[in-house]
Amino acid sequence: MSRQRISLLQELPLLVFLVLVWGALWQDYSPGNLVFGALIAVGIARIFYLPPVELSGRFNIVLAAVFAGIFLKDVVVASFQVFYLAAVRGPHISNAVIAVPLRSHSDLMITATGHVISLIPGSLVVEVDRATPMLYIHVLNVTSPEQVEKVRAEVRATEAWLIRIMGSKEEVAALAAESSQGVVAQ
């Protein structure tokens, strides 16, 4: 079996995450437990081999905290909105499936955007086209083309947030150029 060797450094974020989960599960952060957890993490990463996630190498923790707050608010709003729609509109709901072109070609970015979109108000990823890249999103309670454009802009804005948090330098530069030209997300 020919496997691409990946360096330990590339695997490090995954290993740290696994060790933290191990510590959390035992509710025990003593060095002995963490070392044992690290051994298990390395073993698992070697046996159950996965292609490495290509991180961009930058992460803006302040923006991430702000985004986490917005995300939490959106989750709450989404839940009550769905509750309201289920109770009031019920069988007379009308929906839409829309295509949203994304900026970033990185798998991590597309996946993260898809996850966030699935969790915030009234949208669900039906299909992903990695080559274009394009997300096809099912949106709850859409009756007019203006609403479609609004949702599209929201998805693009979410992706912009994620790019600002952990996108590569090129993506951030492209984003800055786009907003300085005053191009409305569409």
Binding site: L20, V21, G23, A24, L25, Q27, D28, V75, V76, A78, S79, V82, F83, L85, A86, A87, G90, P91, I93, S94, N95, A96, V97, I98, A99, D107, I110, T111, G114, H115, S118, L119, G122, L124, V125, V126, E127, V128, D129, R130, A131, Y136, H138, L140, V142, T143, S144, P145, V148
Partner: protein
Amino acid sequence: MSGDAILDGLTMACLLVGALMSLAAAIGLLRFPDLMSRMHAATKPQVLGLLLMLAAVALQMRSWALLPVLLGAWIFQLLTVPVSAHMVGRAGYRTKHRRPDLLTVDELNPVVAAAAKDLAGDPEDDGGRDRGGDPAV
């Protein structure tokens, strides 16, 4: 009013709203007309409901060592719920569950139709577009 009473009150509020979220999911399941709409009801309230329930546990146990486990459980939920929702939604869209009468706009149908035509024309091609569509691959 003592601190304990306030925390107890918060716990009760969390439990009640969390239970209501479960009810919201059930009402959505019963009242929405098609699979895709039901999926919205099944996924979103679930996430908030679990967060509130875990918050209630944390408020009652009042132990810092417990927080990472509870947060971890919630984050795993955040990571897994969209995956299963996407898989079910994708399968639902491509089988007979699409209800065009309920969609005001549908920008995916032409793409899927074209892919299905490709598939019929070339049996060796197992839908390369489809495979590319899985974020996990």
